[in-house]
């Protein structure tokens, strides 16, 4: 079943096309990585879905409904959103941060912070702490818990592991992949890290200069013959070979 259908998406910044007639269909339950060099339009594509960016042309349908027909707040409450800078509210406790979307939806009654903290493998006593007392990895785990609090089906993630150290990054990536399976989520993740995309995603979409250049499983991508795509994929492969040769 198609969870997200994008067709003819176009967005211009000044004279340059950030997105040029992009069409993409994502099935429910898929974990899609959106990769490409800086400025290729991947963040613009992601933000068009929850309408943080308004495209110049094209239609985006979420479970069959045009996102422009859904009231903005309702649309965003229903989509999990995780970003590189995390963006926890510094004046709220961890529990208040996690509970914010249910509260905005008027369902602030029950405190599910313990359950959600457990979901992201954080101890329950963290609930009363403020964000400044958390490490980077802990903070992003809270970021995930906050995004998941209203039980969204779709997760939009923009470089979610980008600000973390390599060990934390790997651990959190694996942990999220587990949540994706367990909760039956549909995930669209922007990353510039090809290795991360290859290791976590079911499907990789390569954007270059606002157009889709390649779209396939990690295995298909590894065998792709487009020279630009090949050059991108070769980086982690060569690094792996050099590491193996040490």
């Amino acid at each position: 079943m198609t969870a997200l259908a994008i067709s003819g998406l176009t967005k211009r910044h000044g004279g340059r096309a950030a997105l040029d007639d992009v069409s993409l269909a994502i099935d429910a339950g898929q974990f899609v990585a959106l990769v490409g060099p800086s400025g290729s339009g991947k963040t613009t594509l992601l933000k068009s879905i929850n309408r943080l960016v308004e495209p110049d042309a094209g239609v985006i349908a979420l479970e069959g409904r045009d996102v422009r027909q859904v009231p903005l707040a309702e649309l965003r409450h229903g989509i999990g959103y995780v970003i590189q800078s995390i963006g926890l509210f510094p004046h709220m406790t961890v529990a208040e941060n996690i509970g914010i979307v249910p509260k905005l939806m008027g369902k602030g009654g029950e405190d599910r912070s313990a359950e959600l903290l457990e979901l992201v493998a954080l101890p329950a006593e963290m609930a009363s702490r403020y964000p400044r007392a958390l490490s980077g990895g802990q903070a992003q785990r809270v970021g995930f818990a906050r995004a998941l609090a209203a039980r969204p089906k779709l997760m939009l993630m923009d470089e979610p592991f980008g600000a973390l150290d390599p060990v934390t990054r790997d651990a959190l990536g694996q942990a999220y992949r587990g949540l994706h399976e367990r909760l039956g989520l549909t995930t669209l993740m922007v990353t510039h890290d090809i290795a991360e995309a290859l290791l976590l995603a079911d499907r990789i979409v390569v954007l270059i200069e606002g157009r889709i250049r390649a779209d396939g499983t990690p295995a298909q991508l590894l065998a792709h013959d487009d020279p630009d795509v090949k050059a991108m994929i070769d980086v982690p492969r060569r690094q792996a070979e050099r590491l193996a040769a040490l």
């Binding site: 707040a73 309702e74 959103y81 509210f89 004046h91 995004a147």
Partner: protein
């Protein structure tokens, strides 16, 4: 305790109350207007730039000038709209101070909202907060301490600048400072400054407590700080709302005006005593500028004050001729009544003329007795004038008739003008003929054979609405022709001298006792 200190302390509670109300209201308006403007300006650059430029411009206008500008502005507005807009007192002071409070609130408000981490804003939007939710749940709480720092700055500035509200006839701690400066009563000046500074420090400390409370999320700090501020404002407001309670049925409180020198304070206190004896409740508006005082009377903002015929002749009627004293009084009586319905009751019995004066020794050494003699000596002499004289028609008239050209000329407030001639930094000053310091400093006034200076009989002026009130007019009538120049000089000297100083109220009692 010295009587001057006792008197200053007795006035203090009422002045602090008025001062607190005025600055509290001004800061409240500054916040109520500044904060929404800061929110709009943060979102729209097209609003932000001109707004900050405007607020910055207001800030460059000296507070004293800003206050003075609102008096004529409100007067014109009142005349144009026909609405009873009070141009004197609380309203002009409030508007000017609110404008003054605006800049720090606006600037910090914009800085606070713009300074919020972009990631936090993106998260707020991405999680589906509406603009209003983002503002109230994220931006304002996060910006609160910077916004509050702006309010603190505004509060301290406003409490300081509110002392200047005295010049537009609003009661404030400035009353002590201004009258103290004029009469060289440093106890009053210190009491006024000290009280204003203490008030500013206390308010700043309470706001700092609120700020710390917001930063540390400590409810008791926020509550204690806000509670104390609110309690102070309520206390300041209550006695006014409750009313004085004295002499009900006497109608509106009589407002007595005075300009900014000792003689005016003394005469105002004499008038006040007479009216109180007749059963009126009274209020004072001291330290009014020369033209402000008359306009205020014409507009009904004050009910009665003493002015001088030559001043009214030049400033109000814009005349430059110098008729004989009685002819001038008759014309003034008719003209002021015709123009503004003002009643000129008559002269008090003495003149307070501008008179050029020199130290006796110096005048005799140079052989100067009159302004005509001064013509040849002037190029070697320094003139010390009061703040108004050099811009008044009388100065043009003196220059025209005697061709006076001094080596240099400087303006002083009256107190310092007399100091200047005493210490020799001025050779000639524009003294006032009823001033006790003429005798005290052994000065001679120079004769005016060509009648360049008009006469300056002290006259009692009553506003139109009181002119038809017999009890009011009769209460003041005994003062007409009753105060000779010698007694006035003595009363002035009691207040102005350095030793055994008396307060204007004491001098007024002494002066009035001589009439009965």
């Amino acid at each position: 305790m010295s009587p001057a200190l006792a008197e200053a302390l007795a006035e203090l509670p009422a002045l602090i109350r008025a001062h607190l109300l005025l600055s509290g209201a001004a800061v409240a308006i500054g916040v109520a207007v500044g904060l929404p403007l800061a929110i709009v300006a943060t979102r729209r650059r097209a609003v932000r730039t001109p707004l900050l430029a405007f607020a910055g411009l207001v800030q460059t206008i000296p507070a004293l000038a800003l206050l003075a500008l609102f008096y004529p502005a409100l007067l014109i507005l009142g005349q144009a709209t026909g609405l009873p807009i009070p141009a004197l007192g609380f309203l002009p002071a409030l508007i000017a101070l609110s404008l003054y409070a605006l800049l720090p609130i606006l600037r910090n408000g914009i800085a606070a909202l713009q300074g919020i981490d972009a990631g936090v804003i993106e998260a707020a939007d991405g999680l589906g907060m509406t603009r209003r939710q983002r503002l109230t749940m994220v931006e304002l709480p996060l910006g609160a301490s910077v916004i509050l720092a702006g309010i603190r700055t505004a509060a301290v500035w406003t409490i300081g600048a509110a002392t200047l509200a005295t010049t537009v006839g609003q009661l404030s701690l400035g009353d002590l400072i201004f009258s103290g400066l004029q009469t060289e009563n440093w106890v009053r000046v210190l009491a006024g400054c000290g009280a204003a500074a203490a008030l500013a420090l206390v308010v700043d400390a309470l706001l700092a407590l609120v700020e710390a409370g917001l930063r540390r999320r400590s409810r008791w700090r926020v509550r204690l700080g806000l509670g104390a501020l609110a309690a102070a404002l309520v206390l300041a407001f209550l006695p006014l709302a409750g009313g004085g309670g004295a002499a009900p049925g006497n109608g509106r409180v009589v407002v007595i005006g005075a300009k900014n020198f000792s003689e005016q304070y003394i005469l105002a206190s004499v008038i006040e005593r007479r009216l109180q004896a007749a059963g009126y409740r009274t209020e004072r508006r001291d330290n009014l500028g020369s033209t402000v005082a008359y306009q205020a009377l014409a507009n009904g903002d004050i009910d009665v004050y003493v002015d001088y015929s030559g001043t009214l002749w030049g400033n109000i009627l814009q005349r430059t001729d110098t008729p004989a004293p009685q002819a001038m009084l008759d014309t003034l009586t008719g003209e002021l009544h015709r123009r503004d319905g003002v009643l000129l009751m008559g002269g008090l019995g003495f003149e307070n003329a501008y008179a050029l004066a020199m130290r006796r020794q110096r005048a005799e050494a140079l052989g100067i007795r009159s302004l005509a003699d001064l013509t040849r000596a002037a190029p070697q002499l320094q003139l010390g004038a009061d703040l108004e004289f050099l811009t008044r028609p009388e100065w043009r008239s003196v220059q025209g008739r005697y061709g006076l050209a001094f080596a240099g000329q400087r303006s002083f407030s009256p107190t310092f003008m007399y100091r200047a001639i005493a210490d020799g930094s001025a050779d000639v000053i524009t003294a006032f003929s009823s001033d006790g310091r003429i005798a005290a400093l052994d000065l001679v006034t120079l004769a005016d054979p060509r009648r360049a200076l008009p006469s300056y009989d002290a006259v009692l002026l009553v506003t139109a609405t009181r002119a038809g009130e017999p009890r009011f007019v009769e209460a003041l009538r005994p003062l007409l022709g009753a105060i000779g120049v010698e007694r006035m000089r003595q009363a002035n000297l009691m207040v102005d001298r350095d030793t055994d100083k008396r307060t204007p109220a004491e001098a007024g009692r002494w002066l009035d006792a001589g009439q009965r």
